[in-house]
C-alpha cells in the first residue's frame, strides 16, 4: 500500500487533466446531487460523495452509441467504435463490483467489442465510501468494499489518501505522480483497516436477508401473483430503476437516417425491462403486458437469473433505484425484507 | 381608367402567419368593397390564463405565437414580475435582450429572405430559389441558422423557450458559448451585406406608395428599444406603458372580423418601420448605413418599406448582440446553480409587460390574487394593432391602382405584397371576432 498527500493528489489530477491524452472524468456535484463528468479541475472532484445519479456504466455502454454507419446510396456498412480512452476517478466499490459483473455479460458467448474495447482503454480509480446514501445497502450485498475491479483504490485517511494498486494499469498511472507517492505507515494501514471495519455502521437501511438467500426466496415467490401485483400497483413503467442500475444492460437497436436518405447509422440505446413495450413481439403480442409481470422480471433478474447464469447476485446495493423511483416501490430492501419475513 | 369589373378575392393569403383574406370588388372604376378580412378561429388565451399559477402563465402565453414565442414569453414574464414585485439582475436583463435580438433577427430574416425576396425576384416562393439562386438562398439560410443558434444558446430552444422563467433564467450560457456566438455574429456581416446588396438591386420593385399615418413603438433613452421603455407615438409623443389601453383602444368594426386599434387617428402602424421612425437616431451606425442606401429616413410613410426597416434592424440586432456579449464578458458572467429557480414571494397585484416583438409592440396585462393565481389577463398583439392600418392602406391603394389602369393580377399582387409587408402574424391574434360576412 502507498499513500499520497491530498494536495499532491490534487496536483496529480490537475496534471493529468492538463497533460494526459486520455479524458479525465470524475465525480462532481450536479445541482444538489452527484454525477460523473469530465473534470476541468481537481477542485471539482468530490471524493466524499455518497452516490451518483447514473453509475459509471455510461462510459462503457453509452446511452446512445453508433454500431455501424452506412451509406444508403452505395449500400456500404462500416462498423465504428467510438472509444474515448478515459481515466475515471472516484468509483465506489459497489460500482466496481457491478462493472466486473457487466464484464462477464459482454465477454460471455460472443465478446462484444464495443463494450470491451472501452473497458480496456479505461483506468478505474476507485475510492472507498466516505459517505453513504440513505438508501444504500451495499454492506449487506458484500459490496461496500472490494479487493478487485479497480486499477487503483483510494481511501481517505485524513491528510492523505491510502492507495492500493490493483493492476499494472494502476501502477502505470501512479508512476505519473512520481515522488509524491510515498510508502504508507503502519499507523495508516491500521486507519484503512479501521475505516473498512466501521463502514457498515454508516448504512441506514435495515436489511433482514442474506444475499445468497435471494435465489431461493425469489423462486418461492415467483408464482405469488398477489405479492407482485400489490408491489407493482403504483409502478409508472418509467424504467428509472433499470436505467440508473449499475448492472442493467438491456438495449435497443435502431437505424437513424439523415433527411437526404443517403447516410445513416445503426444506434444502440439503453432500454429497460420495466418499459411496457420491452417484451412485445410481432403480432402485437406482449409477453409481459402487466406491470406486475415486468416488475417481477426485474427482481428475478437481480436475484436469481443472473445468479444462475454467472453466479452473481446482480444487485450491488447502491440504492439508486430506490432513491429515484418516484412512487417509491423499487427499493430492493423493502421487497426482499417482505419476502424474508413472509417465509420465515 | 378601367371600366371593367374588378374582383380580387384572395382566400388564405399565403406567406403570412395565420389566416387572412383580401376582397376587392370594383365596377366601372368604383370600389364597391375593399376589405382585409381575418378568419382565424379564436383561441381564447385570455380565458385560458385565468385560474393558472404565476409559474405557468408565460408557458401558456408563449403558445400564442410560434414565431414570436420569445417575445410573448418576455412580455408575460415582465407582466408577472411587475405584478409580483420581482426584480431581475442586470445580467439577466442583458441575456433577455440577447434573446429578443435573436428572435427579431430570426423572424426578420425569415420574412425578408424567405417571404419578400421571392416576390422581388419574381418567384412564387422560396423553393424555386433553391435552383435559380442557390447561393443567395444559402446566404439567407446561414443568417437564419445563426439567429436560431443564438436563441438556442440563450433560451434553450428557439420556439417556446424554456430557460426564461419568472425572476430570471433556469440556465444560462457559459462564457465559452457566448464567445463562440460572438465570433459567429462577427463573421456574419458579409452575409448581411450580401442580402442588403440583393435588396438594393431590387429596390425599384418596392411600390412607391405612401399614406400618412401614426407610428407607435417603445422608446428608451438608453438604446434602440426592444426590451423596455415607454410608448412613443409619432403623433402624441411619449407615455408610460401603464396607459397602453388608452393608446391601443381596441374597437369592433362591422366590415372586419378582427378588433381594430386606434390612438390619435383612425389607425396606426407598429413594427420595424414604426420603431425605425421613432428611434432612428439610436440605430447602430452600420444599420443606419444600410438605411441610407435605401433612402429610408424618419418619418417614412411607405408601408412597403417595412421590409427594408426589417433588414436594417437585423444589422442592428447583430451589432448590438455583439456589444451585449462584450458587456456580459467584461462584467464576468455570474454563475448560477443548475436548474436555478429564483426566489419569488407571491403577492396580489396587477402588472403590465411590454416588449417589442418582430411585428411591433406587444402588451401583456395580468392580475393575480394572493396565491399568485391569475384572475384576469389581457394581451394586445401587434398584428391586431396593424389591422386598421392595413385596411386603410388598402382603401387608399386600391383606387390608385385602378386609376392607373392596373389589371386584376397586378392589383392582387400589389395588395398581397402590401399585406405581407406588415408581416402579419394573424394566428397570434388573441382576440378576433369570427363574424360571418354578408356578401
Amino acid at each position: 500500500m502507498k499513500a499520497i498527500n491530498k494536495n499532491d493528489f490534487s496536483e496529480f489530477v490537475d496534471d493529468l487533466i492538463e497533460n494526459d491524452d486520455r479524458e479525465v472524468v470524475g465525480v462532481q456535484t450536479k445541482s444538489n446531487e452527484f454525477a460523473f463528468d469530465p473534470l476541468k479541475s481537481a477542485e471539482d472532484l468530490r471524493l466524499d460523495y455518497d452516490v451518483t445519479i447514473l453509475p459509471p456504466k455510461k462510459y462503457f455502454m453509452p446511452q446512445r452509441e453508433t454500431l455501424v454507419e452506412y451509406n444508403l446510396n452505395e449500400g456500404e456498412t462500416t462498423p465504428v467504435n467510438q472509444v474515448v480512452p478515459r481515466i475515471i476517478m472516484g468509483i465506489h466499490p459497489y460500482d466496481l463490483v457491478a462493472i466486473e459483473q457487466m464484464d462477464k455479460v459482454f465477454e460471455d458467448t460472443h465478446e462484444d467489442p464495443y463494450y470491451l474495447e472501452k473497458r480496456r482503454q479505461s483506468v478505474l480509480v476507485g475510492v472507498n465510501m466516505a459517505n453513504v446514501s440513505d438508501r444504500s445497502f451495499a454492506h449487506t450485498m458484500g459490496t461496500a468494499t472490494t479487493d478487485t475491479g479497480y486499477d487503483i483504490m483510494l481511501t481517505d485517511i485524513g491528510d492523505r489518501y491510502a492507495i492500493e494498486v490493483g493492476s499494472s494499469k494502476g501502477s502505470n498511472l501512479l508512476e505519473k505522480a512520481g515522488q509524491a507517492v510515498d510508502d504508507i505507515t503502519t499507523d495508516e494501514i491500521r486507519k484503512v483497516k479501521q475505516f473498512k471495519e466501521e463502514l457498515p455502521k454508516k448504512f441506514k437501511k435495515d436489511t433482514k436477508f442474506d444475499p445468497f438467500e435471494l435465489p431461493s426466496l425469489l423462486k418461492n415467490y415467483y408464482e405469488n401473483d398477489e405479492f407482485w401485483e400489490e408491489n407493482a400497483e403504483d409502478c409508472l413503467s418509467c424504467g428509472t430503476c433499470n436505467l440508473v442500475c449499475p448492472t442493467c444492460y438491456c438495449f435497443d437497436v435502431q437505424d437513424v437516417n439523415d433527411i437526404s436518405l443517403s447516410e445513416g447509422e445503426r444506434l444502440r440505446t439503453w432500454d429497460g425491462c420495466m418499459l411496457e413495450a420491452f417484451a412485445e413481439v410481432a403480432g402485437d403480442e406482449n409477453f409481459r403486458e402487466e406491470k406486475a409481470a415486468r416488475y417481477r422480471h426485474r427482481y428475478m433478474r437481480k436475484g436469481r437469473y443472473m445468479y444462475n447464469r454467472f453466479g452473481d447476485i446482480a444487485c450491488v446495493g447502491c440504492g439508486r433505484c430506490s432513491e429515484q423511483c418516484l412512487p417509491d416501490i423499487a427499493d430492493p430492501v423493502e421487497v426482499f425484507n417482505q419476502m424474508k419475513e413472509g417465509t420465515s | 381608367m378601367s371600366d371593367e369589373k374588378i374582383d380580387v378575392d384572395v382566400e388564405y393569403l399565403t406567406r403570412v402567419e395565420g389566416h387572412g383574406n383580401i376582397k376587392v370588388n370594383a365596377n366601372d372604376g368604383q370600389i364597391e368593397k375593399c376589405e382585409w378580412q381575418v378568419i382565424e378561429t379564436p383561441r381564447y388565451f385570455e380565458s385560458m390564463v385565468v385560474d393558472q399559477s404565476w409559474k405557468e402563465l408565460h408557458h401558456i402565453t408563449s403558445r400564442i405565437c410560434g414565431i414570436c414565442s420569445i417575445g410573448h414569453t418576455l412580455a408575460s414574464l415582465k407582466a408577472t414580475e411587475a405584478a409580483l414585485g420581482v426584480e431581475i439582475s442586470e445580467q439577466d436583463k442583458l441575456l433577455r435582450k440577447l434573446a429578443l435580438h435573436a428572435e427579431n433577427m430570426q423572424s426578420h430574416v425569415l420574412h425578408v429572405g424567405y417571404l419578400a425576396l421571392p416576390d422581388l425576384m419574381g418567384e412564387g416562393s422560396v423553393i424555386p430559389l433553391a435552383s435559380s439562386h442557390p447561393d443567395e438562398l444559402k446566404t439567407v439560410i446561414r443568417l437564419h441558422r445563426l439567429s436560431n443558434e443564438m436563441s438556442d444558446m440563450v433560451c434553450g430552444r428557439t420556439t417556446h423557450p424554456q430557460r426564461l422563467i419568472p425572476g430570471g433564467f433556469s440556465k444560462i450560457p457559459s462564457e465559452d458559448e457566448l464567445l463562440q456566438l460572438q465570433d459567429k455574429l462577427k463573421n456574419s456581416f458579409n452575409d448581411l451585406m450580401a442580402v442588403a446588396d440583393l435588396c438594393e438591386e431590387k429596390a425599384d420593385k418596392f411600390p412607391g406608395f405612401s399614406r400618412e399615418t401614426e407610428f407607435i413603438s417603445l422608446t428608451n433613452e438608453e438604446e434602440y428599444a426592444f426590451y423596455e421603455g415607454q410608448v412613443r407615438s409619432t403623433d402624441t409623443g411619449v407615455s408610460p406603458i401603464t396607459e397602453y389601453e388608452d393608446i391601443t383602444n381596441e374597437y369592433v368594426v362591422e366590415q372586419s372580423t378582427a378588433k381594430f386599434a386606434r390612438n390619435n387617428r383612425s389607425s396606426y402602424m407598429v413594427g420595424a418601420l414604426a420603431r425605425l421612425n421613432n428611434n432612428y437616431d439610436q440605430l447602430s451606425p452600420m444599420a443606419k448605413g444600410v438605411a441610407e442606401r435605401f433612402n429610408l429616413k424618419p418619418v417614412n410613410h411607405n408601408p412597403y418599406m417595412n421590409n427594408i426597416a426589417q433588414l436594417v434592424e437585423v444589422v442592428h440586432n447583430v451589432r448590438d448582440a455583439i456589444n451585449i456579449i462584450d458587456t456580459l464578458l467584461d462584467n464576468g458572467l455570474e454563475p448560477q446553480n443548475e436548474y436555478y429557480e429564483p426566489q419569488v414571494d407571491v403577492q396580489k397585484g396587477r402588472g403590465i409587460g411590454a416588449v417589442e416583438v418582430p411585428r411591433g409592440i406587444l402588451f401583456h396585462d395580468y392580475t393575480y390574487n394572493e396565491e399568485g393565481i391569475c384572475t384576469s389577463g389581457n394581451c394586445v398583439i401587434p398584428t391586431n394593432q396593424n389591422h386598421a392600418n392595413i385596411q386603410q392602406d388598402m382603401e387608399k391603394l386600391a383606387p390608385e391602382l385602378i386609376e392607373n389602369d392596373k389589371g386584376e393580377d397586378e392589383i392582387e399582387l400589389s395588395l398581397e405584397m402590401l399585406v405581407r409587408a406588415y408581416d402579419p402574424c394573424i394566428s397570434c391574434s388573441t382576440h378576433h371576432l369570427d363574424v360571418d360576412f354578408v356578401e
Binding site: K30, S31, N32, E33, Q63, D234, L236, S237, L243, Q254, D258, I259, S260, L275, E276, A277, K291, E323, Q324 | T14, R15, E17, T41, P42, R43, S47, M48, V50, D51, Q52, E56, H59, I60, R63, I64, G66, I67, S125, I127, A130, I141, H144, N148, G156, R157, T159, H160, Q162, R163, I165, E338, Y339, V344, D345, V346, G372, S427, T430, L433, V435
Partner: protein
Amino acid sequence: MSKPKVAFFDFAGCEGDQLQVANLEEKILDLLELVEVVNFREVISQKSDDYDIAFIEGSIASDHDAERLREIRTNAGIVVALGSCAAIGGINSIRNSQNPELVEERVYGDDADKVEAWDKAKPVDAVVEVDHYIYGCPIDQDEFVHVVESLVQGKEPNIPTYPVCVECKMNENVCVFARNGGSTQISSSEREVQTPGAAQAEQGPFCLGPVTRAGCDSKCVNEGTTCWGCRGLVDSPNENAHKKVLDKYGLTVEEVLNKFNLYFGWQQEERNNE
C-alpha cells in the same frame, strides 16, 4: 420513384411546428430532394389539391375548420397530425374544462355572441382519421425528419411509447422532485423544513414526465425547468400513481388537475369516456 407530394395546413395553433420545419435550415434543401412541397402557406404561394401526405397543424375548433379538414382528408393519402394542438388538442384544450360562456365573455365581452367557435378545441382525430402523429409543442425536428424519412421509405415511424423519464434519466438530470430535498424520497415532515419561504410552499414541484410520451429528449428538464406534458399521455399512463406522487410532493388536488389540463385536457376527457 416519383417524389411524394407534401402539403402543410394549419388550423388553430401558433404555427410553431411549421416554423420547426423552416428551421431545418440547410436540411430543407435535402428535404426538397426527397419530397415535393406543394402547399406550405406560411412560406410558399402556390396551392394545390394534389398531394400524398398532408401535415395538419393546429386544433379544430369550428364548423368551418372541420369542413376544410374533411376536404383535406379526402385529397390526402396519408394524414399526419403535426404538433400537440393537432395530435392531442394541446394547450388549446385548457379552455375545454372552462365554462364556455365565461370563456367567450372574458375575451370578447359584449361581442361574445358574434363569435362562432366550438366550446372545445379538438385534435384532428376527433374529426377525421389520422395515420401518424408527431407530438410536441413544438415538434422535435429530428422526429419530424424521422417521420418524413420513414413515410418516404414506406416504413412505420418509430415513436416512443415510454415516458419522458427515460430520456431524462439518460441525460442524467437531477429529477425535478429531487431538486430541493437532495433525494426524490423525502418524508412530508422533511419537506416543510427544506422548502424555503412560506410563499413558495404554496405549490410543490411538479413534473409530468412520468406520464408523458418521450421523444423530445426531455428537452425542458435539460433546460432547467420541468416537463409540462406537451407530448401528451403515454399509451397506458398510470395516472393514479402519478397523482399520488404529486400529492406526496405537496400539490393539492386542484393543482394536480390543473397540471394535467395544460396539455392532457382532451386526452383525459377521452379516457374518462372510455
